[in-house]
């Protein structure tokens, strides 16, 4: 054991002793308890991978070192878990949930009965960018091609990312692309691309491109036609979708949709968790994400990490919900709902 590690463990032991001596009520509460992370999707997807990674490392960083339990609760595109968080989950701070980034728009778009602003937000593990890509062999190679050449773009279902972004291109930008919807998932669309059945598809997140299809970038198998994000993704060589708009109303509508990209892997506790426990949860969440072990493991799995604080998520949500009704209506129309 090196001197540095010895020192560190001594400090840790001291710290532990200090917490024990102080008899912090938050630590006391969590000690020996389970802290459940409810995952709105089934095992194996991106949201699940992130949540299980968090669950592996967050326990020791949390006051009282509770046992972390990942629990899958798939249903209705993760709306089920959001509703569970809003209406059923205990409000004592022993349950945290993660769900789809665009679930926070559901109350605006489809009238789902919960208020995401009331959630006790821990924050998001990362930001993300949504891309429209085309296969290298396809005649669609640039943004202008995408607008004018009748590109055959794949889709999965109304409301899914590929469909939403293709609809945005049609309604806000007047693209003449042809949306071929019904593919069961991203993998099947990737296969259709390779077969030449499709020119491309939208709604491919930068993070899954990195982890699943890195060869697409390194071997120049695809063209990235456009990126759509809430900023902070200068490493992606593609035009930013919102910069292509001039009309302020349309810009506001697209901005509303894109702001969810800033909470790409969101985590929240139920409404009404006490301020001290929420503060402890937020601190542990951030400490875990910033820890070298977490970063190393995320890197191994090809998962992007760019934490967003709970406060920032709250701010974004306040902005979204302050938009005038006509902007909301335009956004709703743009995504095809």
């Amino acid at each position: 054991m090196t001197a540095k590690r010895l020192l560190a463990s001594a400090a840790l032991a001291l710290g532990l002793a200090a917490t024990a001596a102080k008899a912090d009520p938050v630590s006391d509460f969590y000690a020996g308890k389970n802290l459940t992370i409810v995952i709105g999707y089934s095992v194996g997807g991106g949201y699940d991978l992130y949540a299980r990674l968090l669950a592996r490392f967050m326990g020791p960083n949390m006051a009282g070192a509770p046992t972390m339990i990942p629990q899958n609760m798939p249903g209705a595109g993760s709306l089920k878990s959001a509703m569970y968080l809003a209406q059923v989950a205990p409000k004592d701070g022993t349950v945290v949930a993660t769900f789809g980034r665009s679930i926070v728009l559901e109350p605006l778009f489809s009238g789902a009965k919960f208020d995401p602003r009331k959630f006790s937000w821990l924050g998001s593990i990362t930001k993300d960018s949504s891309l429209c890509v085309s296969w290298a062999a396809s005649p669609i190679k640039t943004w202008d091609d995408l607008m004018t050449k009748g590109a055959r773009m794949g889709g999965q279902a109304a409301g899914s990312d590929p469909d939403v972004y293709a609809q945005i291109l049609k309604t806000l930008f007047g693209s003449n692309l042809k949306l071929v919807t019904g593919y069961p998932g991203n993998n099947e669309m990737a296969l259709a691309l390779e077969r030449g059945e499709l020119d491309g598809f939208c709604g491919l997140s930068w993070s899954s491109l990195q982890s699943r299809h890195r060869d697409w970038i390194t071997d120049h198998k695809i063209n990235i036609l456009v990126k759509a994000s809430a900023g902070g993704d200068d490493e992606i060589q593609a035009p930013q979708m919102i910069d292509k708009l001039t009309d302020p109303q349309k810009k506001a509508a697209l901005g509303l949709i894109l702001s969810t990209q800033a909470m790409a892997r969101p985590y929240a506790a139920p409404p009404g968790v006490s301020a001290e426990r929420l503060a402890a949860l937020r601190a542990a969440f951030r400490k875990t994400i910033d820890s070298p072990e977490f970063r190393a493991e995320a890197d191994k799995l090809g998962l992007d990490v760019a934490p967003v604080s709970g406060e920032e998520v709250e701010k974004r949500l306040a902005e979204i919900y302050a938009q005038p009704p006509e902007v909301v209506a335009l956004a709703k129309q743009a995504v095809g709902q």
């Binding site: 459940t36 409810v38 089934s42 095992v43 194996g44 997807g45 699940d48 991978l49 299980r52 339990i69 990942p70 629990q71 899958n72 609760m73 798939p74 249903g75 209705a76 709306l79 089920k80 509703m83 569970y84 059923v88 205990p90 004592d92 055959r152 999965q156 279902a157 109304a158 409301g159 042809k178 071929v180 919807t181 019904g182 593919y183 069961p184 993998n187 099947e188 990737a190 296969l191 259709a192 390779e194 077969r195 059945e197 982890s211 699943r212 299809h213 890195r214 060869d215 191994k300 799995l301 090809g302 095809g336 709902q337």
Partner: protein
């Protein structure tokens, strides 16, 4: 290539890895036996445990587990008529009657041999196909997938026995059921009745368990016995060898069904729930002397089991070559690949060829291990069938309920098991074929997706694609053969048919057909205000259902009254009328009363669960049913309920971290919910 295969074999023959694989196999066998649980649960459980293993060991564990659940799912199917996974439903049809005839050992022998042969065949095919995997999979476009769907649906014609109208009617109902949920084209919520549960479509596991497991349990409750006892006593190795010999004699059937299973397994979306039925239909169509199918013909078991185990190798094809999982368990496996630093795709066939071959070897070895373990242990398994009915029925029913609940972890799953259980029981008693419902339900949604994509991308030119043309021609042959035969028969017996035609008769079957027609009509009315793209396929299915349903109704009402012997021949694939033709010494009134009471208890159980929480309600229901319905001593019933409750709690709560659904009692006393998380 041979080098890679050889070095992969050395890799996997490492004693430590073999031990890990054996562990996986044992767990997989255990999961396969429990109805509703299978490879998916096992993978979710094991993947986190492989974080610190090297890749070949991890895959040895995961694949060893996942590939043998279809070996052991056969055991409850034979002993209790309860399929262990959705892939064993077709096995019930002949395996369970064999057990009732005292041939459980023979069924075991034949089933494991077929499983082993199928599993090895699938692995072999995967191994041989590796060099041509990518072009092969790239050749299958959306139009081809649509053609495969139609081929699967065409099997309805064979699986309906000699009641084609009923079969077509039921298949259309299945199609309609598959359309429940959010529509892929427009996002319209079709027939969801404002529930989140139906939003995601009806999950397959509770429906399969309801349709195939609950009716057998109800019949057990009526008969008050499980499998004929005397015969089980004679369960010896020798009769097991008879089964092995049966399977070896049918090697051609095994080869054909394995090939079918492996090929269909490679098609994403066509899962184990239909592959066994398609193979069963194939056996029915190509074998000679098929009158015994559905009454305990060993070839039915062999066909279903070999196809179902060959499927695993096929499933791996698109997963390895392209990273496109062919089913839910493969999607999980994919995440394990990524976890261990392998991106499925071209690299797996070049740079990581040794890993790919180690997967092939794992598949082969684990099937051998699984089959050998099962062959040696079947005597032990068979003892389960000797358990008294008063303990067996409540316990298995509780396991079926929880297994169904694992489908999507909602109350809806519980209602689905009970509802489809009642439906399945009525269908079975009246001689209506159930397999077409499953085929329609599984293939319907896929059919709709690829229909729109194909129409959008290819239009009619899709028919000119060679694979499409061949598969569609095959489907036509499957449909037309029985139809032509039936037409010939009708023409020959014209005179007979006209006899006795006159006043309509009101039978139970007529009433049942009328009730189903009313449901179809109500569904059609509800679909009127959907956008046209969302409505077109469900309405087409609905109108076809109306057509075939009316046809069924009229034939049933005006048909000549037939003798029971004729009826038995006509029903073919289905069905032993337990209630109407009771075992000796039991009168019909008692049989009917017991059947009614069984479903009343089922309803009471569901209500108890809704009120007191799923687990407490289930335990209480087991106690009450065992004690009051079957007359077990209270202390025995209590011990059973407590033991099951503890086992369920440890398994589902502690190990699987299942979220328990909210019950009434938790709404009334929220502190109870927060304290226990059970209600």
């Amino acid at each position: 290539m041979l080098d890679a295969a050889w070095s992969a074999l050395l890799l996997i023959m490492d004693p430590m890895r073999l031990a890990i694989m054996l562990g996986g196999v044992v767990l997989g066998l255990a999961l396969g036996v429990i109805p509703g649980l299978g490879g998916i649960v096992g993978l979710a459980l094991l993947i986190p445990a492989t974080y610190h293993m090297d890749a070949p060991s991890a895959f040895a564990l995961l694949l060893g587990m996942a590939s043998v659940t279809t070996v052991s799912d056969f055991i409850p199917a034979v002993l209790f008529g309860v399929p262990g996974t959705v892939g064993a439903a077709a096995t019930v049809l002949d395996g369970y009657p064999m057990a009732q005839k005292g041939q459980a050992a023979r069924a075991f022998g034949a089933g494991y041999t077929a499983s082993l042969a199928g599993g090895v065949f699938g692995a072999l095919l995967l191994g041989l196909a590796i060099p041509v995997l990518r072009p092969l999979v790239l050749y299958l476009g959306s139009a081809e997938l649509l053609a495969f769907c139609l081929f699967g649906l065409s099997m309805v014609a064979v699986l309906s026995g000699k009641a084609p109208l009923r079969g077509l009617f039921v298949a259309c109902l299945g199609l309609m059921l598959s359309m429940i949920g959010s529509d892929p084209e427009t996002g319209t919520l079709r027939w969801t009745f404002d529930t989140l549960y139906l939003w995601d479509h009806l999950p397959l596991v509770p429906v399969t368990l309801g349709l195939f497991a609950v009716p057998e349990l109800a019949e057990m409750a009526v008969r008050r016995s499980s499998v004929t006892r005397a015969d089980l006593a004679g369960l010896s190795r020798s009769s097991q060898w008879d089964g092995v010999r049966d399977a070896l004699r049918s090697w051609r059937l095994i080869l054909r069904c394995s090939a079918l299973g492996a090929l269909l397994g490679a098609v994403p979306g066509i899962g184990s729930a239909v592959i066994d039925w398609i193979a069963y239909g194939h056996a029915l169509q190509t074998e000679k002397n098929t009158e015994g199918f559905g009454h305990g013909d060993v070839r039915g078991v062999i066909a279903a089991e070999s196809s179902n185990n060959a499927k695993e190798g096929g499933h791996l094809v698109p997963t390895i070559a392209f990273g496109v999982p062919a089913g839910a368990s493969m999607a999980l496996l994919l995440s394990a690949f990524l976890l261990h630093g392998f991106t499925p795709g071209p690299d797996m066939l070049t740079k990581h060829l040794d890993i790919t071959y180690s997967i092939v070897w794992t598949l082969t070895l684990s099937h051998i291990m699984g089959a050998l373990i099962c062959l040696c242990a079947s005597g032990l398994f068979a003892r389960f069938a000797l358990i008294r009915v008063g303990l067996l029925v409540p316990a298995v029913l509780a396991i079926v309920m929880l297994g169904g609940f694992d489908g999507s972890q909602s109350w809806g799953d519980i209602y689905a098991v009970a509802g489809f259980g009642a439906l399945g029981f009525v269908m079975k008693q009246l001689g209506w074929p159930r397999p077409p419902l499953i085929l329609g339900l599984v293939l319907g949604a896929m059919f709709e997706r690829y229909l729109f994509i194909t129409q959008e991308l290819f239009g009619w030119s899709a028919l000119a694609r060679p694979v499409v043309a061949v598969v569609l021609a095959g489907s036509l042959w499957v449909i037309l053969r029985p139809v032509l035969a039936a037409t010939r028969r009708i023409l020959a017996n014209r005179a007979l048919l006209l006899q006795g035609r006159g006043r309509p008769r009101l039978t139970l079957s007529v009433g049942f057909a009328a009730a189903l027609l009313a449901v179809v009509a109500a569904g059609l009315v509800l679909s009127l205000d959907w956008p046209s793209h969302a409505a077109i396929v469900p309405q087409a299915a609905g109108f076809a259902a109306l057509l075939f349903g009316t046809g069924t109704l009229l034939t049933e009402a005006f048909a000549r009254k037939r003798s029971p012997a004729e009826l038995a021949g006509e029903i073919g694939l289905a069905i032993r009328h337990v209630v109407d033709t009771p075992a000796s010494g039991m009168d019909q009134v008692l049989g009917h009363a017991r059947a009614w009471r069984f479903f009343a208890w089922l309803l009471a159980g569901v209500l108890l669960m809704c009120a007191l929480g799923l687990l407490p309600g289930l335990v209480l229901a087991v106690l009450l049913i065992s004690w009051l319905e079957f007359g077990e001593r209270p202390i025995v019933a209590l011990a059973l309920a407590a033991g099951l409750g503890l086992a369920f709690f440890l398994l589902f709560d502690r190990l699987f971290n299942l979220p328990w659904p909210e019950a009434w009692i938790g709404d009334v006393w929220p502190w109870l919910r927060d304290a226990t998380r059970l209600v």
